[in-house]
């Protein structure tokens, strides 16, 4: 038995590799093993709620994570096919701790690990990006800033923090001017990358710098950065998750690295045997991952124009529905026989349709209206519309103006259908509005408005037709009864800079899961007592988007969906067993 520190913790190295410190152990023997262990601090006291991550060198998940209990004990899941005689690495994530050493001992059929961690006041290696955005006094400007920037990447990322340090190193007495000029350059740079990512087809060259450096929101972003990120940003302290952990000793997180380059978005678990299906918005492909072996393969969406798979929906028959990013092609795949159907859509006036979501119901499964029509949100045309999968017929209904708010660029975004299949509800991300549309009368109905910087994104609806809306900018959750048209409440997230992207109603647990883009966590909201708890992910840069719930096991299925090619956070598909036995 030996124990070697393979990757000692240095700030530069850790951020480049986006990895926690790793310790290499060699496990001797030949047969399968079970893994248990204890996390203790340097005085031998238990470290509670630490994520212990194993990186095996054998087929299966790329990483497997369990949480330490009040005695510091943890056990890794039995279903992972551990192999003796193979190398593995151990990492931990616990707020305010860093890994010092680990050792292992063989005990009966299994392996027992002792992981030693050291408490550190500086949480720079363990805290999420949002730890730097905790100033409640400027919550309003922070909310606007989150909508401006965190929509595409975490802020502040390690690269950003290193830039802040570089600014601090520039000599000169007028610090405000130096900061302002430097952040002005950074914002121009990011605007360029953004224009390149979203503003052109795959064949076009780089955008014209003189045209894309300046955008409307630039000055307020530069002002925010200059006012709030004034030091080297190499330390942060006092951050906590803000809610009790939603974990048990059986909680397990299985992470699957997706081959790069990729811009994976949403992931579903479908088919027999169950496979992970991940939308890759950059490559026009669906990546398939076998959870048993970790083996990945790629399926091209058959279309003569790039589709850019973005939103995925499970069909009632367990098939896969693929909604595109901006383009107007919807795909349907029978995951068992590999048969595709695609529909290409244009609006009546010739403007391409920008489908974002297809209609789904309380079980997060595609839901058609009573005439079999699939309804969708059209992010480009501020419209809702339908597709008749049998005939290919489509139609659009433009959303009416809302108060004095903009009527273009509203980003009509999330979409759900009520249980009677007669009404859809949608969010308009850029104008802070929620609206409804009656699919029988084809008329827009009630709507309600939130602040302009609230940022409502992907909706969910419960079995009782309660609407849940995540507010990406202001970091809140809206609970709204669509039957009585009353707002039940607006609740502050445990971390209001967490950028909650989506909500998913869990029809068995009767809770709401809320993945966040800036805090590396999934929140669990219990409508019975309006309480939050938190399920943290084992790594920083975990840019979470949608969560689905596997109807058979109750496992959560999600992804680290770093969007822009230049953002170098993790890109993985995940299966998470909350460890509560709720679906057994």
């Amino acid at each position: 038995m030996n124990s070697v520190i393979k990757n000692a913790m240095t700030p530069g190295k850790a951020s480049r590799a986006s990895l926690l410190p790793l310790i290499l152990l060699t496990c001797m023997g030949a047969q399968a093993a079970t893994f248990t262990g204890t996390v203790v601090d340097i005085n031998g006291n238990p470290v509670v709620g630490a994520m212990v991550t194993l990186e095996p060198s054998w087929p299966g998940p790329t990483y497997v994570t369990a949480f330490s209990d009040p005695d510091g004990r943890f056990s890794l899941p039995d279903q992972v096919n551990y192999r003796r005689g193979s190398e593995f690495q151990v990492a931990i994530r616990a707020l305010g701790y860093e890994l010092v050493d680990s050792s292992m001992e063989e005990a009966g059929d299994g392996v027992s690990l002792t992981v030693i961690a050291r408490a550190t006041d500086n949480q720079v290696a363990s805290a999420p990006a949002s730890a730097w955005l905790q100033n409640k006094a400027n919550h309003d400007t922070t909310s606007t800033f989150v909508l401006d920037c965190v929509g595409c990447h975490q802020v502040p990322s390690p690269e950003f923090r290193h830039y802040a340090a570089a600014i601090a190193d520039i000599p000169g007495t007028d610090r405000d001017a130096i900061r302002h000029a430097s952040y002005d350059a950074l914002v121009k740079y990011m605007n360029f990358l953004s224009a390149e990512e979203f503003g052109r087809g795959p064949e076009a060259g780089p955008p014209d710098a003189s045209r894309v450096y300046e955008v409307g929101d630039g000055p307020r972003v530069i002002d925010y950065l200059s006012a709030n990120f004034t030091d080297r940003m190499d330390s942060v302290s006092g951050y906590d998750w803000g809610a009790p952990l939603a974990v048990t000793p059986q909680t397990a997180i299985m992470e699957y690295e997706v081959p790069r380059p990729n811009a994976i978005r949403e992931v579903l678990l479908l088919g027999e045997p169950k496979q992970l299906w991940a939308a890759d918005v950059a490559s026009n492909a669906i990546v398939k991952i076998d959870p048993e072996s970790g083996y990945t393969s790629s399926l091209e969406v058959p279309s003569d124009t790039p589709v850019g798979p973005h939103s995925l929906h499970r069909g009632p028959d367990g098939s896969l529905w693929v909604a595109p990013f901006i383009t107007s092609v919807v795909g349907h795949l029978d995951v068992n026989d590999g048969t595709w159907d695609t529909w290409r859509m244009q609006t009546v006036n010739g403007t391409p349709t920008g489908i974002h979501d297809l209609s789904f119901g309380a079980d997060h499964t595609l839901l058609t209206d009573n005439d079999g029509l699939v309804w969708f949100s059209d992010i480009v045309n501020n419209a809702v519309g339908y597709l008749d999968p049998d005939t290919g017929a489509i139609d659009h209904y433009m959303a009416p103006p809302v108060l004095d708010r903009a009527t273009t660029g509203t980003a009509l975004y999330g979409l759900v259908m009520t249980s009677d299949r007669e009404e859809i509800w949608f969010s308009q991300l850029n104008i802070g509005s929620i609206g409804s549309f009656n699919v029988v009368t084809r008329e827009f109905g009630l709507s309600f408005q939130l602040p302009l910087n609230s940022g409502p994104r992907r909706l969910s609806i419960s079995d009782d037709d309660i609407l849940y809306v995540p507010l990406y900018g202001t970091g809140q959750l809206v609970e709204y009864d669509t039957k009585t048209n009353t707002q039940i409440g607006i609740y502050d997230m445990p971390d209001m800079a967490s950028a909650p992207y989506a909500v998913t109603w869990d029809p068995v647990r009767k809770v709401v899961w809320i993945p966040t883009s800036n805090t590396d966590v999934i929140y669990r909201f219990d409508p019975a007592d309006k309480s939050f708890s938190v399920l943290p992910m084992p790594r920083t840069g975990a840019f979470l988007r949608m969560v689905d719930i596997d109807p058979d096991t109750g496992n959560l299925v999600t992804s680290y969906a770093n969007i822009v090619g230049h953002v170098h956070g993790p890109r993985m598909a995940l299966i998470i067993d909350p460890g509560d036995g709720a679906y057994r």
Binding site: H162, Y163, A166, D169, I170, A177, A181, Y189, F192, H568
Partner: protein, 119 residues
């Protein structure tokens, strides 16, 4: 010892001569085109142009400034590409490019320093 150095000088001269005869050597040409394509791959053009100042200085200006000490600057420039920082060209530091592998940064640095003094 002197003899050894002289022999080495001759050998180096001979190889330089050979390089001139074969110029452009396939190896050099390959590296130059690799540098140009890495500049595209890592999106250096977001901030830098050949002969125009954008957010950062033009490649030709960098090459001209360091023409006298290319040997030292190759490693320095490669390091700067990855870590960013500076204020060498005004008060604005370069953004870090921590995703660029070290060997790519070295090829890019050689490509910049090898650009002709004027075009």
């Amino acid at each position: 010892m002197k003899f050894l150095i002289r022999t080495l000088h001759i050998a180096i001269f001979a190889s330089l001569l050979l390089a001139t005869v074969l110029a452009p050597s396939p190896l050099f040409a390959q590296e130059a085109s690799e540098g140009a394509s890495l500049v595209m791959e890592h999106r250096c053009y977001a901030c830098h142009d050949m002969d125009k100042a954008l957010i950062g200085p033009p490649y030709l200006a960098i090459a001209a400034r360091h023409a006298g000490h290319k040997d030292v600057m190759e490693k320095v420039l490669a390091t700067k590409i990855i870590l960013g920082g500076g204020g060498n060209w005004g008060m604005v530091p370069m953004v870090p490019n921590e995703h660029v592998p070290e060997q790519d940064a070295l090829v890019i640095a050689r490509w910049i320093l090898g650009l002709p003094p004027s075009r």
